[in-house]
Symmetry: C2
Subunit: 750 residues, 2 copies
């Protein structure tokens, strides 16, 4: 572990607090103070903007534009798409005695910013000390509405401490927003009327409506794709004046007059709700969330991990909670432009378990997103001279958007992860309808892709995948990556077995699917043949070689890398990261996590002990996987250390790139870390298995999961764990022994 | 050998002849009919342009522009440069009865085009049959002046066959020339006066002067960066009318008024020479060339190979003959925009021997080009987190211009080839001054680069290069590529030995160099240590594994690839070419060619027999290397088959990409093919060695080489070879036995 925490925010069980403003940390803070409600998201940027270092990110889920890339080699994409900032509803200008508020240049004191995870609000306050000697306390409050996903709210409170007089105030709504990486605005043809606005993206031709209303008088102007409401506010010494702004942002695939009318209606609907009512309802939403979904950690000392896991839980609930098959989970959610808003295979490999055990309907919706984009995946396979469906590494709309061919063309992980997700979902929920109506077709096309991509090796004569990049992205163009081969084998087996099941259960549907996909039984037999003869390199101790030749690579002492070298992509010559045994993120270990019950404890131990010291965790996936395996192997100190890392990856800026946005995947993996790691849940074998192992310095850990219509509440204490069930009786395995959960709480000594 | 000849041109010992015009073959013909004089070059495009498929390439050596690429990862270039078309001096418009001459749309007969390699001219003639029933024979003649490198000449002959009357004629000079790939013109701010013109490139800010004069009256106009001379010619039935154009193109690094005045002067100077005089002098130049440099092949049947080798010889003499250290040898010379006019390591690895044994001064100039660009190579090493000098894969100005990081960052070939070139040059010529004044410093910086790039492997504990791409570009990011390791070893040894030699021969210069480069003796010792412990993977039979894991790769039957799949880069998904044992070009075999006398015949045989059937020759380097080794191993049929391929690679469009320009490297290798292959010259051991092996169906092969002030003429016949020497006596080895060449011809039975 060469990485260290960079502790900046105050530790608090329910809040993230910044006291005093560090301009050098500004972008990290912006990421941490992000708010979202799945439909829209906003970074914690200052309302008034100014000259502080900032990525002014105001996003609408699913809004993107397109960039042509020019033609290069076959199979390399010639255009990409990327999330763009949308209507900026926070734009604010405040001027006092001709001095414009800009925390990059004015004097101020008592800066305080806090994210309240119980209220779902972000508040910022400070005292502005003007050159003319006036002191004005300003408080900014904002939230995005969890109850009405098209609404957002902003409040500014003015408290003159030592004067009475006028302050100039302008509240804006703007499509004049620049994508930082491209350095340009992708919005055009803005239509404005009063405090409403509608605009269209350039090449994707999406339209977004934005409207607002203020509780103060003034005058509205339109220029540069921006409407702004100007007022001169009369302040009285010692008295607070409050400016409230109610905002509607609408994006539903419609356009033109239809969208405009819908937007006006939504704005009119929002008038029924007063600001304070909306604020109370927001709190009520989050109260309800925490009542059912809180993970409580009782430990001695600072609530460091409690804050960490709550921050993760809060962000995850903000970013996706199901209900729209148009949404997936971006690597950075709606918290920054790095990774272009794209969803990766992290969705199935890392996020899905959270939804499987808290909100299975949302898990199904995530998989239906993949079904809806099956045509794009099939087109992608054709581009790569293959058959079937190759799911994209990075996407918003189902097309491959990763412009780095070495990732887009060499990683088979997205396809095998979708297959794993389908299997895992059906295995845990028992949802045969989904499996046969949608899953079978996806599995079939993925299997077909893999069978067209696999090759017979030279010496072994076995099958394997050549020229790939496994989950460990620090090794490129490798052969027989164990993860890829194993996942390929299981996917082929699963596809064949699912089609078998379909044939028996629904012969007509089976025949229809074969007809639709022109699949022959011989093709299915070929998949089985490949799966049976897949090369999985492991030695007599069970140690799996990550890929051909991995053991012969030069060794890098990862502890000798200075922390200032991170992220390595920014500080090392690109080709340099590929030349040693340093691993970016779990590869063999990822396999042991996903198909955990298919490997013996001895196999897990030998591989963990070999690979862990070689892993640099330059991916947010990494620490939680390690923590889960460490816990299983009884390495509780390590498990706890990796857990801290996982839950606080962004809060403590471990990877030194939180400035670009939050690592949303680590948020989901932090939950998995607790449920799979410390509670020892295993969901890839028969039924559910638990093996609770409370970390030494914790006193109690409490959480719930849902399972096939039931709720299982788990309360882990020092010497015992209690399981309480709501719903039909259920047999589960605890520490390798079967228990029947019924009406009574079951307590097992640890 | 999955490739086949596509024979289109008439076989003739001295000419390339096209009878009848095939529009589908237009670009191939344009490439074949290229003319150049090192300073400028022009493809065989139709003077009148028109709607036929064409790459209108008119180039000036060293003229390029720059394209910013945007920042990506460290070590990946953020701008590139590329050859652009310059002043088009051939622009011609002919209109008869309102019908504009355009061979893409008008009727014509008796099309004949020929490149005369004895005269250095390109002639084209045909009879234009207008819609109005007129028949006009047109003959176009052009040449670029070998005696005055800034001059070019164009002649148009009009012969009305069945009418008398007017024809409209316009002769132009234009900087309105588009780079095809970028689809734009890179010239700006043209200044015009009469029939002269000067313009500047956009970002590289180079300036070129162009001026012309015609032998007919008319009117000159300037528009769109183009001057054109318009005339209405009165033709008389049965009589020929000749329009001659004398052109000066000047590019010497100067700009503005200075260049303008020099240009005017050069144009005035050219007035002294009449068109027919220049034509006669051109013929005289080529007569002289062929007298000293012709390679004569006497064989039964068609002069198929004679034409091939003469075409190579002619093109090579056009493209580089020394005298300017600003010029190197572009992969396509001045015959097309593919490869952007860039020079590669082919210069040292493939072209240098031709110059070493025909024009050693030119060889020295090529190496001085590398010395002059040492600062750029050192900057490049720094970009890659290394020390010393890393020579660019592709360049015009010394900076890395290859925008494919996988080639630019992973190929160490350019650096080791420069080192090899320095060593080979000094070894053959004995030029110690060059070695100590320039070579030592380059060797030092290259060795330093390699020592900072090499790593100690995992299991073997030996040194090797990881994450590289060897000469075989179909395998990327491999470890312990045998070629790279071996070349690295020899380079380190050579650098250390050269510095040793310098210390003994010139202690002060040695001390100065150490001071200048901050080199310690410990660093030199470290190079020796690395070289002594370099990993060269070979088995007990001497078979060298191309790189770690190569023997385990899936097999591709290269004979099963349809010829329509070539070039593979255009027809296969990019990642697909990297997944098997298919080899693009010699890799292990390249090593056996360069350090030929360091390997036993048994080693060469086992490696040749293993690698040859796996090589697809998707590089123009490939066939000649194979031919040379085949000849050495007594596989004369194969040697001859590969020779045909090498000399006629472009004439018969073997790689199906001659349309993009000529493979200039194959031109040099075709010469090497004869001298190293059939005459069995070896220059990497002590002294010179020959082992003549005349191909079965040849009767005689004659050529000369120069060596340390001497000329050795070699005449190979069926049963014997005669060596005749001009100059000081010399001992050479023939068939493994020493002979002393003196005044008398030495004849050795074969």
């Amino acid at each position: 572990m060469a990485k260290a925490a960079d502790i900046y925010f105050r530790v608090d069980p329910w809040k993230i607090i910044e006291e005093g403003f560090d301009p050098g940390y500004s972008r990290v803070s912006e990421s941490i103070f992000s708010l979202a409600n799945e439909s829209m998201g906003v970074r914690g940027s200052f309302d008034e903007g100014g000259s502080v270092d900032s990525l002014r990110g105001v996003y609408v889920n699913g809004v993107y534009d397109i960039q042509p890339l020019g033609r290069s080699y076959r199979g390399i994409i010639d255009r990409t798409h990327f999330m763009i900032p949308a209507a900026d509803w926070l734009r604010t200008e405040i001027t006092l005695d001709g001095e414009k508020l800009d925390l990059g240049s004015v004097r101020f004191r008592d800066f305080h910013r806090e994210l309240d995870m119980r209220a779902g609000t972000l508040t910022r306050s400070f005292v502005w000390q003007t050159a003319s000697g006036k002191e004005l306390r300003l408080t900014f409050l904002r939230f995005v509405d969890m109850n009405h996903r098209e609404r957002a709210w902003q409040r500014v409170i003015f408290e003159p401490l030592n004067f009475s007089g006028k302050v100039e105030f302008a509240a804006g709504l703007s499509f004049d927003v620049r994508h930082e990486g491209y350095g340009k605005c992708f919005w055009q043809d803005a239509r404005a009327e009063g405090f409403t606005l509608q605009a269209r993206t350039t090449l994707s031709e999406q339209e977004v409506f934005a409207g607002a209303a203020l509780n103060i008088g003034g005058e509205t102007r339109f220029a540069d794709q921006t409407v702004s409401h100007h007022a001169a506010l009369s302040l009285e010494k010692g008295k607070a004046l409050t400016a409230d702004k109610r905002v509607v942002i609408l994006f539903d695939g419609s356009a033109g007059e239809e969208l405009w009318q819908k937007g006006l209606q939504a704005l009119a609907d929002s008038e029924q709700t007063a600001f304070d009512t909306a604020l109370a309802q927001q709190k009520a939403y989050w109260d309800a969330y925490w009542r059912t979904s809180d993970v409580e950690i009782e430990a001695d000392g600072d609530p460091y991990e409690q804050q960490g896991i709550r921050f993760c839980s809060f962000q995850l609930a903000q970013i996706y909670n199901g209900g729209s098959m148009r949404h997936n989970i971006g690597a950075k959610g709606l918290t920054g432009e790095a990774y272009n808003g794209h969803a990766f295979w992290d969705t199935e490999a890392c996020c899905l378990p959270f939804y499987l055990f808290t909100n299975p309907r949302a898990a199904r919706d995530l998989l239906l997103y993949r079904y809806n984009t099956l045509p794009q995946a099939m087109e992608r396979a054709r581009m790569l001279d293959c058959r079937g469906a190759c799911y994209p590494l990075a996407t918003l709309n189902g097309e491959e958007a990763c412009s780095l061919w070495q990732h887009a063309s060499l990683q088979l992980q997205p396809s095998t992860a979708v297959a794993y997700g389908i299997w895992h979902y059906a295995h845990v929920t028992g949802d045969q309808d989904f499996l046969y109506d949608y899953g079978a077709e996806m599995l079939l096309q993925i299997a077909r892709f893999l069978a067209s991509r696999v090759e017979k090796g030279g010496k072994s004569g076995l099958y394997g995948f050549y020229g790939v990049m496994g989950p460990d992205e620090f090794h490129m163009m490798v052969n027989n990556n164990a993860y890829t081969n194993y996942m390929g084998m299981r996917t082929l087996e699963c596809a064949a077995a699912t089609l078998d099941g379909l044939r028996q259960a629904r012969p007509a549907a089976y025949a229809g699917l074969l007809e639709k996909t022109k699949l022959s039984e011989a093709e299915i037999a070929a998949w089985r043949e490949i799966a049976e003869h897949m090369y999985i390199p492991r030695d007599e101790t069970g140690l799996i070689e990550q890929h051909d030749g991995y053991f012969d690579l030069p060794h890098t002492d990862i502890n000798a890398i200075p922390v200032t070298d991170f992220p390595l992509y920014d500080h090392w010559s690109y080709d340099r990261i590929y030349r040693s045994d340093m691993i970016k993120q779990p590869d063999v270990l990822m396999l042991l996590y996903l198909y955990n019950t298919s490997f013996t404890e001895a196999e897990k131990r030998v591989n963990y002990e070999f690979y862990e010291p070689r892993t640099i965790h330059e991916s947010s996936l990494s620490p939680a996987i390690h923590s889960i395996l460490a816990a299983e192997l009884g390495k509780m100190d390590e498990a706890q250390r990796f857990f801290g890392f996982a839950t606080r990856l962004d809060l403590d800026n471990y990877n030194r790139n939180t400035r670009e946005g939050l690592h949303v995947t680590s948020i989901a993996m932090a939950w998995a870390n607790i449920v799979y790691g410390f509670a020892g849940l295993r969901s890839d074998g028969d039924g559910l298995r638990f093996a609770p192992r409370l970390p030494q310095r914790w006193n109690r850990l409490t959480f719930s999961i849902v399972y096939r219509g039931r709720v299982i509440k788990v309360r882990m204490e020092k010497d015992r764990t209690a399981f309480r069930l709501k719903g039909e009786p259920l047999e589960i395995m605890i520490y390798g022994k079967m228990y029947r959960l019924g009406n009574e709480e079951v307590t097992v000594e640890s």
